[in-house]
């Protein structure tokens, strides 16, 4: 290519583009300024040159060029219409030169300048026909990468359709309620299970906010959960009550996830499960535990007070008998009295383990101290109890705490092979905190929970009991690093 004509072509392209830019950005500094060539201009120039080359010398090289230009156009993000516009420009120049062979106006002369010095197929209608056909082949070649890409999209769309259908089936047929909302909690979609549960069809739901289907006292919690997710926070599922169209309340467990597009949060995706049955089961378990506790109290009372009283009377009666007998026989009665004392002690211990009256009479800390003294005496294990600012708590909380700490101490003294145990009790403004730490062998919590043995049940029982009073229990343990049980119970202000 001659450098001279190349320069002229460049000028034409530049002039056109400055115009286009000025039209598009009228407000930004009009007038001449340094012009930056775009990928499009670059390709347009290459395309024009390749087309001319092909028309002069039809061959694979120019076609290969066309193909490469098409490929680059795709990489550069150009679309088919831009490609065609490029082709149109190049073709116009060729046709001007073709038509201008006969009559040349001044205007055409000027434009033809770009093609000066070229010998293009000119003249007859046969020539023209040939030209059109050649141009077609050339354009085909250039569009081929777009064709491949198009076929790629068709296939990808089909795959997408299939996967979407599968997802939709999963979504629609799930037993759990699945829904999505925007960042403000406005419903975007809800599955059939959700429609059934809340009693609104999805068209209605789409005009509603999550708050409208929550029980009034749960709304704040729902929004808090939403906000936490939007801020990128993580937390486990939460329980709240949904309010159906006909005013029924349904307890659900909701877990939700942030939905992002291009790393920007755009909504929330949530799964809600009806936990009516679970709540019912938990409630009956609570009743059962309470009844058991009452029963233990009754038996403990009977053992301690009634049987204890009887034994005391027997003691007094024997004492008077012993006094009336000669010394030798009296000795034998005294031996029986010694056995009676032992029975009485055992009864008292049994009664205490069933239900420490000290818990009712003096409260949690003395009861725990008494308990640890007993365990220390039995096992020889030193147990330190630290208690700060703990006063009397509501009876049902004291009961739960006592039993849970008892279980933790049993685990530590029986299974941990510890050399010492530390119990720390703290009462703070809004919660009660208890830590039970041992320096024992530790254990694999997951495995222990899965075990159907005493310890497994014990651990589950701790969690369940705490659940009744809204408390939690975090157990941190690993082999050879001891175990820490952290018990937290919220206190009503």
């Amino acid at each position: 290519m001659e450098p001279e004509s190349k320069n002229r072509q460049l000028e034409i392209g530049a002039a056109r583009n400055v115009q286009a830019e000025a039209a598009g950005n009228a407000s930004i500094s009009p007038g001449p300024r340094p012009y930056k060539r775009s990928v499009k201009d670059e390709l347009a120039e290459q395309y024009g040159a390749a087309l001319e080359e092909y028309l002069q010398q039809p061959g694979e090289k120019a076609l290969q060029n066309a193909y490469e230009i098409g490929r680059q156009a795709i990489s550069g993000g150009l679309c088919v219409t831009e490609m065609l516009a490029m082709h149109h420009d190049a073709l116009s120049r060729v046709l001007i030169s073709f038509g201008a062979q006969g009559e040349e106006s001044e205007d055409l002369m000027t434009q033809r300048g770009a093609l000066e010095g070229r010998s293009l197929p000119v003249g007859s209608p046969q020539d023209f026909q040939h030209l059109v056909k050649s141009v077609e082949v050339f354009l085909d070649e250039c569009l081929m990468p777009f064709e491949i890409t198009y076929r790629g999209y068709v296939e990808a769309n089909e795959a997408l359709r299939v996967s979407e259908e599968r997802y939709r089936e999963l979504f629609e047929n799930a037993n759990d309620v699945i829904f999505t909302t925007d960042l403000l909690g406005n419903f975007i979609s809800i599955n059939r299970a959700g429609e059934r549960m809340i009693g609104y069809v999805r068209e209605e739901a789409r005009r509603m906010n999550i708050g409208e289907v929550c029980a009034p006292e749960c709304q704040e919690m729902a929004y808090r959960m939403l906000d936490r997710r939007v801020m990128g926070g993580e937390s486990g599922p939460c329980e709240l009550e949904l309010l159906t169209r006909d005013g029924r309340r349904i307890p659900v467990e909701i877990s939700c996830q942030l939905v992002c597009r291009e790393e920007k949060p755009i909504g929330i995706q949530a799964i809600a499960r009806d936990i009516t049955e679970r709540k019912r089961a938990r409630e009956s378990l609570r009743h059962l535990t309470q009844a058991l506790e009452q029963e233990a109290k009754r038996i403990a009372h009977a053992l301690h007070d009634e049987a204890g009283q009887l034994l005391a009377s027997v003691h007094i009666a024997l004492e008077s008998v012993a006094r009336e007998l000669p010394a030798a026989q009296g000795q034998r009665v005294r031996a029986i009295q010694g056995l009676l004392d032992e029975i009485e002690n055992q009864l008292r211990r049994l009664s205490h383990e069933l239900r420490p009256t000290i818990l009712d009479d003096l409260g949690l800390v003395p009861a725990i101290e008494f308990l640890t003294q007993g365990i220390s005496a039995r096992t020889g294990l030193p147990i330190e109890v630290e208690a700060g600012g703990v006063g009397r708590l509501p009876t049902h909380i004291e009961e739960v705490l006592y039993r849970v700490i008892q279980e933790a101490l049993t685990n530590a003294s029986k299974h941990a092979k510890a050399t010492s145990i530390n119990v720390n009790l703290r009462q703070e403004a809004r919660e009660f905190i208890c830590q039970v730490r041992d320096d024992g062998t530790g254990f694999d919590l997951r495995a222990a929970l899965a075990d159907n043995n005493e310890r497994g049940f014990g651990l589950i029982n701790m969690k369940e009991r705490l659940n009744f009073v809204g408390g939690t229990c975090v157990i941190t343990s690993s082999p050879n690093h001891g175990t820490e049980v952290l018990i937290t119970v919220p206190l009503e202000s």
Partner: protein, 138 residues
């Protein structure tokens, strides 16, 4: 499957862009001889371009073999692209769109698969890759 009988065969060593040109030319000529319509000849040339590009990019050099074939009543063109390069460790990944760095969706090997009627690929790490595609006369 009906037995394939081979007629004419052209072998083009591929080392440079010039060789790619030669392979395209031979492919297009063969397609024309078999009376492929112009658009399908272009498809053949395109497939050769992409296969040859792959050879140069990943193996440095290789060979493209273009054969006119007959299978039962069908006539068509078979293109084999072969190299002794590093091979493809994960073919299904290489056949996925978006894996190649070419930009457009489905250029490269997945594009060739879509353009051709039949597509086979064999590859062994540190031994090389062979891609075999067929386009039948319509």
């Amino acid at each position: 499957m009906a037995a394939t009988s081979y007629h004419r065969e052209v072998r083009v060593p591929v080392r440079s862009d010039l060789d790619v040109l030669k392979a395209r030319q031979d492919g297009r000529e063969m397609a024309r001889e078999l009376a492929f319509i112009s658009a399908d000849s272009t498809l053949v040339a395109t497939a050769i371009s992409e296969l040859a590009r792959n050879i140069i990019q990943y193996a440095g050099q290789g060979e493209i073999i273009i054969t006119a074939a007959e299978e039962g009543a069908r006539r068509g063109i078979i293109i084999v692209a072969h190299d002794d390069g590093p091979g493809i460790p994960n073919i299904s990944e290489a056949m996925q769109d978006g894996y190649s760095t070419s930009g457009g969706l489905g250029l490269g090997l997945p594009g060739v698969r879509r353009l051709m009627d039949e597509f086979e690929i064999f590859s062994e790490v540190n031994a090389g890759t062979t891609v075999r595609v067929k386009k039948w006369l319509r």
